[in-house]
């Protein structure tokens, strides 16, 4: 059992397509830069990981919708599919939808049609898609959507499903995060003793999925196989994660996929660089993996992409799939002094790791509201 990833697309501040995105990560090139989108005098934080595609005249609505369009179009092209989707379901995971457009409308009077608040509007216009679902599942959204997509295929509701994730930075989240941290983070430092919190990133990612039994479809491409996706909810705190519940999600993902911790070669960490996430994630991994915790390579790409929120799960997945294909694992940059909790882990630091035999990857994705989604992906076997 499993579902073939037969098309992939990615848009991020590190690169506008899968090759550019992954190439930058492997080179350790971060998109970290001074804040450009908002008036910097309003904040203590100074930096972000933006896609600075705004016109010189100022910010404009629907930037997230356009990145989503590009990522989905790229994934369809990669899968050899036409752009007329009709009844092919498209599931879009997001934290902030088009709420940046709402901010511009409310505060600056920039015109915005409320019908564009969810992504069915742009997907209908561009791809003629009608079975579109905007899943607002915080920073676990795109892997949650991946789970829902595999369910659709498993229940025979469709033969092909497009799963995507997208997010843009809003001023409200940027300002409130700034308000919450004791000190403004200068950059994302996952699992580092000096980590101070997360800074947001932007972008989109999309994959085309088909049942393994049906084969890869028109382009014949098998990037990887999704073995299983587990989802759950801490039901404990609106923003602080729960290590026990994260561990339960990891364990369920392994069970669904028929793998044991010792089978995992690569863990694409959620790794936000917040004090609480990194501690909880490391604790859950140590608990579930036990003596196998030192075996898999581990990395956290948010150190270069910023926290791309609803898109981050699929960004990690695309990077993980490319890592297995190329044998190159991107480094976690700015991880200089690891916390005790990751002492035994094989974290890739400094420069990319080159290795062979990466076959199974675990992708972590956790969000506000205690949402957890964990996917297991297997490298495509060359046919």
């Amino acid at each position: 059992m499993g579902w073939i990833i037969t098309g992939m697309g990615a848009v991020a501040a590190t690169g506008g397509d899968v090759a550019g995105f992954f190439g930058a990560l492997c080179a350790g090139r971060s998109a970290h830069a001074p804040l450009r989108g908002f008036d910097p005098t309003r904040y203590r934080a100074r930096n972000a990981y933006e896609i600075d595609d705004r016109p010189a005249s100022g910010d404009v609505p629907l930037r997230a919708s356009r990145w989503l369009e590009r990522a989905v179009a790229a994934a369809l092209r990669d899968a050899g599919m036409g752009e007329r989707l009709g009844d092919v379901p498209v599931l879009v995971g997001t934290t902030l939808r088009e709420l940046r457009s709402v901010e511009l409308s409310w505060r600056d009077g920039v015109p915005f049609d409320p019908a564009d608040l969810h992504f069915g509007a742009v997907l209908g216009r561009r791809f003629g898609a009608t079975r579109t679902y905007t899943v607002a599942n915080a920073c676990a959204a795109s892997l949650y959507a991946l789970g829902l997509g595999t369910d659709l295929l498993e229940l025979g509701e469709c033969d092909t499903v497009v799963v995507a994730g997208v997010d843009t930075i809003t001023e409200s989240t940027y300002g409130l995060l700034d308000r919450c941290y004791p000190e403004a983070p200068d950059r994302i430092r996952p699992f580092d003793r000096d980590r101070r919190g997360m800074l947001q990133g932007e972008g989109a990612a999309a994959v085309v999925l088909r049942r393994a039994a049906d084969g890869p479809g028109p382009a014949g491409r098998r990037h990887a196989t999704v073995r299983g996706v587990a989802v759950n909810c801490d039901a404990a705190h609106p923003s602080a994660p729960d290590a026990g519940s994260i561990g339960a999600a990891i364990r369920e993902a392994h069970e669904r996929s028929g793998v044991r911790p010792a089978d995992i070669d690569l863990v694409m960490l959620h790794g936000t660089g917040t004090p609480l996430n990194d501690e909880a994630e490391a604790g859950a991994l140590a608990e579930v993996f036990g003596t196998a915790a030192g075996r898999p390579h581990m990395t956290a790409v948010k150190s270069m992409t910023g926290h791309t929120a609803g898109a981050s799960g699929l960004h990690s997945l695309v990077a993980g799939v490319e890592a297995m294909r190329t044998g190159t694992v991107p480094p976690t940059v700015h991880l200089d002094d690891p916390i005790d909790e990751v002492a035994g882990f094989r974290l890739v630091r400094g420069a990319a790791a080159h290795t062979t035999g990466l076959s199974v990857a675990q992708v972590d994705s956790f969000g506000f509201g205690g949402l957890n989604a964990v996917a297991i992906v297997e490298r495509a076997v060359r046919s």
Partner: protein, 332 residues
């Protein structure tokens, strides 16, 4: 009308409890009345008590009221005095919430504050509500629901889509019980957004509806009454396509039609009864489909025997991205 004595197959999905948080509407049957509820009813959120409510947004409070009633009606929580005590395994109980405007107030109020006072004027307590899943999150925390937790912000069809995804989660074996919530609040930012920045005096729903779904087999095992069975669902580009997809050729006459609001294209449905919640409650947005499912359940439980056809979103002909349709049937 007498409902035929007919059991639904054990794996069919049924509704086992409903709840409402709507000014002037006590019983779900009241949704079927052709006139608006009295405007001077008590605010439903006044029923909530407890710590921490101060920092919950309007949508969350409304949803908590409706959710509590639906869970109690379905017998999923123990009677008052033992709050949060579930009668089913917590990791098998999920939530699907539908809202389009739920957290717009937090987002807009925050940027106003930042412009005036910088980020230092904001309250850190507002952070969780910047994410659009805040309603589902608080409901899960309140009742200890650890299963799959989804928030759909899917435009006009969002409420019916939420019922569909509840069924998907059960059918896929991820959970055994799903609390479905549809909620929309009214406040100045919502009014601004919903009226395209004009802020005109449109009637907008301020309320929530909730229902519990599970398989007929599970309901029987628990001794919970199956109030309605959930039939076919479709989301299509036009209203006609959505209706045709769920009714199929030679379909039974429609007993109750829940109209989508807006201008519906000419059709030959000829329903015995029509329920236009947009006309009685105002624009219901992401709450509409869940309100329709609660109204349809009340109609069926009250003796209605023919199909309920719920439709939301007028589709591309009506300027929306899609239209959704869902059939509800008598459970027994």
């Amino acid at each position: 009308m007498n409902a035929p004595a007919m059991d639904v197959p054990a794996d069919d999905l049924v509704v086992t409890g409903t709840g409402l948080a709507l000014r002037g509407v006590g019983e779900p049957r009241r949704l079927l009345a052709p006139h608006p509820p009295p405007g001077d009813g008590d605010d439903p959120v006044a029923r909530l008590t407890g710590r921490g409510l101060r920092y919950r947004d309007r949508a969350t409070r409304l949803a908590m009221c409706a959710a509590r009633d639906a869970l109690a009606a379905a017998g999923l929580v123990r009677p008052p005095g033992t709050p949060g005590d579930l009668t089913v395994p917590a990791h098998r109980a999920g939530v699907v919430a539908s809202t389009n405007y739920g957290n717009v107030d937090t987002v807009c109020d925050t940027v106003t504050t930042i412009a005036k006072e910088t980020y230092t004027g904001t309250s850190p307590m507002a952070l969780p509500a910047t994410a659009s899943n805040v309603v589902a999150s608080w409901v899960a925390i309140t009742h200890g629901l650890h299963g799959a937790n989804l928030t759909l912000c899917n435009g006009e069809t969002s409420g019916l889509d939420a019922v569909h995804w509840a069924r998907q989660l059960v059918a896929a074996g991820r959970v055994g019980w799903v609390l479905v919530i549809g909620v929309e609040p009214v406040n100045p930012p919502v009014r601004h957004l919903a009226t395209g920045g004009t802020g005109t005096d449109a009637r907008l729903l301020d309320g929530a509806a909730a229902l519990v779904v599970e398989t007929a087999g599970s309901a029987r095992e628990r001794g919970a009454p199956a109030l309605a069975a959930i039939g076919p669902y479709a989301r299509k580009g036009t209203w006609h396509e959505a209706v045709a997809a769920v009714r199929g050729p030679g379909a039974e006459p429609v007993g109750l039609w829940c109209a989508p609001g807006g201008t519906v294209p000419p059709h030959a449905l000829d329903p015995a009864q029509t329920c236009d919640l947009t006309a009685t409650l105002g624009e219901c947005s992401g709450a509409l489909g869940v309100l329709q499912a609660v109204a349809g359940t009340a109609w069926l439980h009250g003796g209605g025997s023919a199909d309920v056809l719920a439709t939301a979103g007028t589709g591309r002909d009506g300027g929306a991205d899609a239209s959704a349709a869902l059939i509800l049937r008598a459970a027994r």
